[in-house]
């Protein structure tokens, strides 16, 4: 018996296509929660702090619009935009088709029209399809237009590893952007900064890459409704006298822990959270290195061509006579981000940072 012999006549029933055009709000499936108010100091996770900052920016300026994949009803895969669709509607919280170049390129057009778009890139590894629009358009248009066109675009990027994810979900692409003239780059490490810096980034007339350390999204902290330190300033998060330790994003916590551990051994580590990766706040770093004479820099990104090398070079240029040892880098290796079970061997951790501190102190080679 062949299949054709099994034929029994019936009407062919065409399958329906799910509707849901862009720009038209779909009905929320569950009732949205009341958005977090932020009038006084409150304890929030980093994800909620960014959410509160986005909300405040949207309340302050009707030209602020959010664009991204799954940022509407779902509230983003990390829930950073949760409930904003319900509050601000589909014209300001825009679920876009699945295309990163278009997310950025559309933002460029919106900026031309006077908007302040905030783009969400779902994961670090997915920023590359949008790279051309960032590097050739967002970064250059103010210059190309001789200052006539502003690009007040914020690009939010959850970045870094440590969450056991699949490939392309744990990358640290920040150095591609710190090498791109015309961009500002920040990375946040705690809920308060996350709140203040997202508001500052959106308010900036320059384009800002805003990196969010995804493995710290759920860490809680006090958040006051203030903008905090200017975006381009680094923060000394632990004072010390023997070694300067630079870090940003998720590794700030690790670096602080390392400083604590070092202090148990009598080594006083000054930990500086860079906050701004471009421009780097060299004034703060220089002052610290003039005091300590020793510098350690840590980041998850690959060593070669990473931000650490640039900072080491600048500090060597500016503080050569103060340095008692070469700046030490504790970084990811020059490998593609590895499989989840190997990531602990790629990511700097407390022990590797302490090892770096020891090397800066000349205690090991």
């Amino acid at each position: 018996m062949t299949m054709t012999a099994m034929t029994r006549p019936t009407a062919s029933a065409p399958l329906g296509q799910t509707t849901g055009a862009g720009g038209d709000a779909r009905e929320p499936v569950a009732a949205p929660r009341t958005p977090e108010p932020l009038e006084t100091t409150t304890t929030l996770t980093m994800a909620k702090a960014i959410n509160a900052g986005l909300r405040q920016a949207m309340l302050d300026d009707p030209k602020v619009v959010l664009l991204g994949e799954d940022i509407g009803l779902l509230g983003g895969v990390f829930r950073v935009t949760q409930d904003l669709l319900a509050e601000f509607g589909a014209r300001r919280v825009i679920d876009t088709p699945l295309a990163e170049s278009a997310i950025i390129g559309t933002a460029v057009g919106l900026a031309y029209r006077g908007y302040r778009p905030v783009c969400e890139i779902q994961f670090d590894g997915f920023i590359f399809p949008g790279f051309d629009q960032i590097v050739s358009q967002v970064a250059k248009l103010h210059y190309r237009s001789q200052g006539r066109v502003s690009m007040p675009i914020t690009i939010r990027v959850p970045f870094g590893g440590g969450i056991g994810a699949a490939e392309h979900h744990s990358e640290s692409p920040e150095a591609y952007f710190t090498h791109t003239s015309g961009l500002r780059v920040v990375a946040v490490s705690n809920p308060q900064d996350a709140y203040g810096l997202i508001r500052q980034a959106i308010a900036s007339d320059d384009p800002v890459l805003y990196f969010e350390p995804k493995r710290r999204y759920h860490v809680k902290g006090e958040v006051s409704p203030e903008l905090g330190q200017p975006m381009e300033r680094a923060a000394i998060v632990a004072a010390g006298t023997d070694v300067t330790l630079l870090c940003y994003g998720a590794l700030v916590t690790t670096a602080r822990d390392a400083a604590l551990a070092a202090s148990d051994e009598g080594v006083s580590v000054e930990v500086i959270d860079l906050r701004s990766l471009s421009p780097v706040d060299y004034e703060t770093i220089e002052a610290s290195v003039r005091k300590t004479g020793r510098l350690v820099i840590t980041h998850e990104a690959a060593r070669s061509g990473g931000l650490g090398g640039e900072i080491a070079a600048v500090i060597t240029e500016r503080c050569f006579d103060y340095l008692e040892a070469a700046p030490v880098r504790v970084t990811g290796f020059d490998i593609p981000y590895p499989a989840a079970k190997l990531e602990s061997h790629h990511l700097p951790d407390l022990d590797r940072i302490l090892d770096g501190v020891d090397r800066a102190l000349g205690r090991r080679r």
Binding site: T18, G20, A30, P129, K341
Partner: protein, 369 residues
């Protein structure tokens, strides 16, 4: 712009088995199924049951903490099995992350299928031994790879075909459009197999396109077939038509398999946040396995014996999957440096040596400092 080759307009759906299991006649498609025996149909049925069982088991393993993540294919069994079973071993398949049934049909071992999701490696199998590339997680990227491979196959004078699997969401990525441009221009022997499962995480297909996805290809000069993706026979026929066109120098074809993602996007997703419950119910009635069962039943083939035998196969696969998964040894630390390059690299080799030294220091001193 009707597809003159298959004789129906793309807005219409090629359906050979209706949801209630009735075989629908098709002058254009039926000739492509003439050799399909009852045993073949049973084989397709068993594939579908087995891959659904694999899916369930992998989901359970994820819940139990044995896998980091799992992307279920629940609901897409017919689309994947029907297309993959149309292929020859010398064809080459380029997929995304959800094509576990395709991997099954290509002969990938169950352990190799879960290796990635356990976090042991970035890919599981040897692409050349199964004719299936390392999955692409960057949405749409693999459609260009398939086009390039197809071009090579054409240059080599073979009649092997490349098949690119991708989703409805992927059609929005520039890479997919560029793949259509290149494939059309070079008349590459490639089949673009789009599983339109109606959703890209939380976004409905209507956000990606207001036209049927198959129309996309026509605009690039590529003929299309819109097929009921929950009808394993229709998918098989459509894929055979497309493969034959490619093998005989007719160039690329775009297949839109209209199906439905009945589960979450991945085990990390909660579709109740965005998807109306009624929609899922509606699609449950079109369940691809139910449909083959009804067809088999109508033909008197769905015996208790067959059902029992099939359950046995599925349970065996599930057990093999579980054992293979749990039995996977953790990778050795220094393998983190392996295969970055095919040739020696001084900078990287130095990093490896330093790290080996660092690791060894723990063994000798029992820890840092």
């Amino acid at each position: 712009m009707s597809d003159s080759f298959t004789g129906y307009t793309p807005a219409n759906l090629l359906q050979l088995v209706s949801p209630d299991g009735a075989r629908v006649a098709s002058d254009t498609a039926d000739p492509w199924l003439e050799d399909v025996s009852a045993a073949d149909l049973v084989g397709l049925y068993q594939d579908m049951v087995v891959v659904r069982r694999i899916d369930t088991e992998a989901t359970a393993l994820q819940r139990q903490g044995e896998l980091g993540l799992w992307p279920p294919l629940l609901g897409q069994e017919a689309a994947q099995v029907g297309s993959a079973r149309a292929l020859r071993p010398d064809d080459f398949v380029f997929t995304s992350y959800r094509e576990n049934a395709v991997a099954w049909c290509r002969g990938v071992s169950l352990t190799d299928i879960v290796r990635v999701w356990r976090g042991n490696a970035q890919s599981g199998w040897d692409p050349y031994s199964v004719g299936m590339a390392a999955p692409a997680i960057i949405i749409g990227a693999q459609t260009l790879h398939a086009t390039g491979w197809a071009l090579g196959a054409k240059f080599d004078g073979t009649d092997s075909v490349a098949v690119a699997y991708f989703g409805d969401g992927a059609t929005s990525e520039g890479d997919v459009s560029e793949a259509l441009v290149f494939a059309a221009s070079f008349q590459a022997p490639v089949v673009f197999f789009c599983q339109n499962n109606q959703w890209a995480i939380s976004e409905p297909v209507g956000l990606q396109s207001r036209a049927n996805l198959v129309d996309r290809a026509l605009g690039f000069g590529i003929p299309g077939i819109r097929v009921d993706g929950n009808d394993v026979l229709a998918v098989l026929a459509a894929t055979r038509i497309a493969l034959d066109r490619a093998r005989t120098g007719g160039g690329p074809t775009f297949i839109e398999a209209v199906t439905y993602r009945m589960g979450p996007h991945t085990t990390a997703d909660d579709p109740t946040r965005y998807r109306p419950a009624a929609e899922l119910e509606e699609w449950k009635a079109k369940d691809p396995i139910l449909r083959v069962e009804r067809l088999l039943d109508w033909g008197g083939l769905l015996t208790a014996e067959l059902v029992a035998q099939t359950t046995g196969l599925a349970d065996a696969a599930a057990a093999e999957l579980r054992a293979g998964c749990i039995g996977l040894a953790d990778p050795e630390p220094l393998t983190v440096f392996d295969h970055v390059f095919a040739t020696p690299n001084a900078t990287l080799d130095r990093q490896r040596t330093e790290y080996a030294h660092y690791l060894a220091s723990f063994e000798t001193t029992g820890g840092n400092a």
